[in-house]
Amino acid sequence: MGGLVPLDTEVNGERHRREVEPRLLLVDFLREYLRLTGTHSGCDDGLCGACTVLVDGEPVKSCLMLAAQVDGARITTVEGLRAEDGPHPVQQAFVDAEAVQCGYCTPGFVVAATALLARDAAPTDDGVREGLVGNLCRCGCYQNIRKAVRSVGGSR
């Protein structure tokens, strides 16, 4: 098992210094250690996107990354997107476009969509389809999720 490794990371603007097991997954670090339970786990294999977080602004499946790998990095989880005065525009767009059913996939989609919109401020419908192909919604909200994302991006 080996010893613990030091971890110094900023999560949602807050600095955390811990010693963690080398094998600890980022998703478990966020959920079990920091109690940031908005990041969900749906497949453990990088295939469903429910665990998506931003690492230095880039979307990452936190089930595929070790906590130790984010040493020195800045992480944003779904909880961190929220502004002081209310939900993030992407979060609000998911509500307005009726893009949520059970909501288990939603945090991952919101984070992935935020990253997508950062790359392309006004994606086409196909752009959204392709851009979100790494996230699964078993409730089948894709149609409204696309609507939500494009409503933020402005349609083209």
């Binding site: 097991e21 094998r23 600890l24 478990d28 959920r31 079990e32 109690r35 940031l36 339970t37 908005g38 990041t39 969900h40 786990s41 749906g42 497949c43 453990d44 294999d45 295939l47 469903c48 429910a50 989880t77 779904v78 909880e79 997107l81 929220r82 939900p87 979060q91 609000q92 998911f94 509500v95 307005d96 009726e98 949520v100 059913q101 059970c102 909501g103 288990y104 996939c105 939603t106 945090p107 919101v110 959204v128 389809r129 392709e130 979100l132 192909v133 996230n135 699964l136 919604c137 078993r138 409730c139 089948g140 909200c141 894709y142 149609q143 409204n144 999720i145 696309r146």
Partner: protein, 825 residues
């Protein structure tokens, strides 16, 4: 419309944003796995690597001494600490195996729990599993049901299958036998102008909710109380079940279920989730189990699919259906009654095969056979899909045989007068089957699609169009089961004018919180924002039966409506005292009570409530009332459900029935076998809608799921019976790129038998999609003459269908040539 007028409008029927969404989009929802009590241990379960084996020996001693391990237990050791899992229903013709949460001496599927560990951390618990030694005597697995070896008539012919038995105490591997006949089937077949036959088969696929199963069990040894937070659709039945299994009084067991990450039928039973509870009892510490995706794929319940029909339909030459015969055979995995709840779907299927058509002579036999695979769970559709798949394929086949337009054939047989008792017993209380078919045809612009198809064919491209009718029975109430079908609610108007509504129904993504708030708001004259709906705490809400069988908009809503109506009545009574106007002359809305026609005479609801509670109080405000508070409880049952079989052995377990029609356009690439589903049109009528946005999401969602199931999702084993689809990489789910656009249109024909005219919904996509996709693909392949009667519609199958069709054409033409040659001689 002014804001004020808006506020007066009924809330039922309005597309308002969901109250649940704010927490879900910000990551502050509360799913079972989100809670980790102080000092919690983590459970890991050792599962059988064999589909069929005797357990010779299990040794957990070494695991016990691993770092962090607090407890380790084998099935044999656990045996004395719990009772077997109870069967979820006890219908005649069904047998239930005796099963414990951890297998004792035999395993019957790969993935069956055999031992478990509780450790201080999940990683350590998983490490410790490797130290458990198990010796198995491997047995030959039964991985398929043999269609040729089923004893349909109980006369021993053909001789009962030679396959090994799963359960030593059973005579054979048949878990359900159900036979039903009505009318003079023989004579009708004898008088028919045409008889069409079909073998229609659907493969095994599953619900696969994105949130796997999760349990947090907290046993308090001092108080002998047990609190279980669990991802379930049925918290109250879980309380009853846990109490029974662990020998605790129900008063000492509390089940908590907050947000649930999808269920679709799959989270309706106790199974592996009793293991962490046992470990909590044994250690006296909280124990948490959040299963991995691989565990779900290995041991989660599969959908109520995996069946084959052999059926015949008799018709007159004018298209009138005379009679129907079916032999329905299903592979129910290791069990569909105890470890999961899928088995009754076969009976539901048999009941609804006649579908929305007038069929007065019907004969059906059903057999569900056990195999060494995971349990047969409930999954959206629950047999109504099994029914629709068959009858709609038969309708298309009959149309072809009679040379009729398939929609015309349907129109000729669809029910048009209501209420109508179908031959299997259910009463179709109202409907719009013909109207749905007409509307879907119009929405699709069928003539334009046909022209497009022709043009495409001229260019060597193969488009196909399919249209089917759907009937969506809802609000199931199964006698002799934990799904017996009542629902409860309590509505409490507080002194400040806000309202708490407690429901026994369980939200699992279907918008219960918002829809129920809309219903209650109308009854007490406030806004839905002032109504807080609570659920899922068996200590706080009245005993209710939860989410299954599309019952939320009928049973759950009706109970809430009944209770809220009573509160509204008392509110008006109290207001009439305060305003000195008779209750009949008062109206509620927008947070006020006013005299009709004299808006000046009004009071805030909060004001009336405050006076009723305290100033001066109930004696003055609700004089003579038996319960002089602004609170009421109600239990709803539907009078159309019958509990005892009638003289024909018929049960009416679904009181409400939605109508629908579905169309789709596909393009088949005959080189690769790829099917591109270009568009789906869905016309749906589930009576009065409470919140159209919520309804549409469920219609589209269930269509997306069934699209995945029909096209590519499949559970696959290798020859040795080892599961191959163990990850979401192997088991493909629909994603943003693969799903077709689905256009939904509504017709609203109220149900005359529910208080608000609502019907249940949420399974309709599953009921129609399979048949419409098969129909459209068959249409695309018409130039080849291929029949499409089996799922999944994967490229290899499409290519095989084309090849077979080509071969049989070639054979036919060879035969013709040969015949021609002979004729010449």
């Amino acid at each position: 419309m002014t804001v004020d007028e808006m506020r007066q409008q009924p809330w039922v029927g309005r597309r308002i944003p969901r109250q649940e969404d704010n927490r879900l989009v910000t990551g502050t929802g509360r799913f079972a796995d989100d809670v980790t009590p102080q000092g919690a241990l983590h459970c890991a379960i050792l599962r059988s690597p064999h589909p069929h084996a005797r357990i010779v020996r299990v040794d957990v001693a070494r695991a016990r001494s691993m770092p962090g391990v607090v407890a380790a237990v084998s099935g044999a050791e656990a045996r004395e600490h719990w009772a077997p899992l109870p069967p979820n229903f006890a219908l005649p013709g069904i047998v239930a195996p005796r099963v414990y949460g951890l297998a004792v001496d035999k395993v019957v599927y790969e993935g069956e729990p055999v031992a478990a560990v509780a450790a201080t951390d999940r990683y350590l618990a998983e490490d410790a599993l490797e130290a458990i030694e198990v010796e198995y005597e491997v047995l030959e697995p039964v991985m398929d049901v043999d269609e040729g070896a089923v004893d349909w008539y109980g006369d021993g012919s053909p001789a009962s299958p030679a396959s090994p038995r799963l359960y030593d105490e059973w005579d054979d591997n048949v878990q359900v036998r159900y036979d039903f006949a009505y009318g003079d089937v023989e004579r009708s077949f004898g008088e028919a102008d045409a008889v069409v036959e079909a073998r229609v088969a659907v493969h095994r696929y599953a619900a696969v909710p994105l949130e796997p199963r999760a349990v947090v069990a907290e046993y308090d040894p001092d108080g002998r109380t047990l609190t279980v937070r669990v991802a379930t659709q049925v918290p109250h039945q879980m309380r009853t079940t846990y109490a029974r299994i662990f020998g605790l009084p129900e008063t000492s067991v509390r089940v908590l279920t907050g947000d649930v990450g999808g269920g679709y039928g799959s989270k309706g039973q106790a199974d592996g989730d009793v293991v962490p509870i046992l470990l909590s009892i044994l250690t006296g510490r909280p124990v948490k189990w959040a299963e991995t995706r691989e565990e779900w794929m290995l041991a989660g319940p599969v959908g109520s699919r995996g069946y084959v029909h052999h059926a015949e339909l008799a018709l007159r030459s004018d298209g009138t259906v005379l009679a129907l015969r079916d032999r329905l055979l299903a592979d129910v995995g290791c069990d569909g009654v105890v470890r999961a709840i899928g088995l009754a779907a076969l009976i539901v299927g048999a009941t609804y095969i006649p579908g929305p058509y007038r069929i007065d002579a019907y004969d059906v036999r059903v057999r569900g056979l056990v195999t060494n695979k995971p349990a047969y769970g409930a999954y959206r559709g629950y047999g109504k899909d099994i029914a629709n798949q068959l009858i709609e394929r038969l309708m298309d086949k009959a149309a072809a045989a009679l040379g009729m337009d398939p929609l015309e054939l349907r129109r000729r047989n669809l029910l048009t007068e209501f209420p109508h008792e179908i031959c299997t017993g259910p009463i179709i209380e109202s409907g719009s089957f013909v109207e749905c078919l007409d509307l879907v045809q119009e929405k699709m612009d069928l003539p334009a699609l046909r022209r497009e198809q022709e043009r495409a064919r001229a260019n060597g491209r193969f488009l196909g169009v399919g249209v089917v009718s759907t009937m969506e029975p809802s609000a199931g109430a199964i006698p002799m089961s934990v799904f017996s079908g009542f629902e409860s609610a309590t509505v409490r108007l507080h002194p400040d004018g806000t309202v708490t509504a407690l429901t026994g129904l369980q939200p699992i993504g279907q918008g219960v919180q918002t829809s129920y708030a809309q219903v209650v708001a109308d009854c007490v004259g406030v806004s839905p924002a002032d109504v807080r709906v609570r659920w899922g705490d068996t200590d706080a809400v009245p005993y209710g039966l939860g989410a299954y069988a599309s019952r939320g908009a009928t049973f759950g809503v009706a109970a809430a409506h009944q209770a809220a109506t009573e509160v509204g009545r008392k509110l008006l009574l109290a207001a009439s005292v305060a305003l000195e106007v008779t209750p009949d002359d008062l109206e509620l809305g927008g947070g006020t009570v006013r005299a009709k026609g004299s808006p000046g005479t009004a009071m805030d609801v909060a004001d009336v409530a405050q006076r009723t509670y305290f100033q001066p109080g109930p004696y003055a405000m609700l004089p003579g009332e038996k319960e002089p508070v602004l609170e009421a409880s109600a239990v709803y049952t539907n009078p159309e459900v019958n509990w005892l079989p009638d003289e024909h052995g018929r049960l009416r377990i679904y009181p409400t029935h939605g109508s629908g029609a579905m169309g789709c356009l596909v393009e088949v690439d005959v080189e690769t076998g790829g099917v591109d589903v270009r568009k789906v049109w869905y016309v749906h009528d589930s009576g009065r809608l409470i919140n159209p946005g919520i309804v549409e999401n469920q219609l589209i969602g269930s269509s997306v799921q069934a699209f995945g199931g029909t096209m590519f999702e499949q559970i696959v084993y290798d020859d040795a019976g080892t599961l191959l689809t163990r990850t979401l990489g192997d088991y493909q789910l629909p994603n943003a790129a693969s799903v077709p656009d689905i256009e939904v249109s509504h017709i609203e024909t109220p149900s005359p038998i529910t208080p608000l005219g609502t019907k249940g919904l949420g399974e309709g996509g599953h009921i129609g999609i399979g048949a419409v996709l098969l129909s459209a693909v068959e249409d695309a392949l018409r130039p080849f003459g291929a029949e499409v009667l089996e799922t999944p519609l994967t490229p290899p199958r499409i290519l095989q269908l084309i090849d077979r069709a080509r071969e049989s054409r070639a054979r036919e033409s060879r035969a013709q040539t040969a015949g021609a040659v002979r004729d010449d001689v």
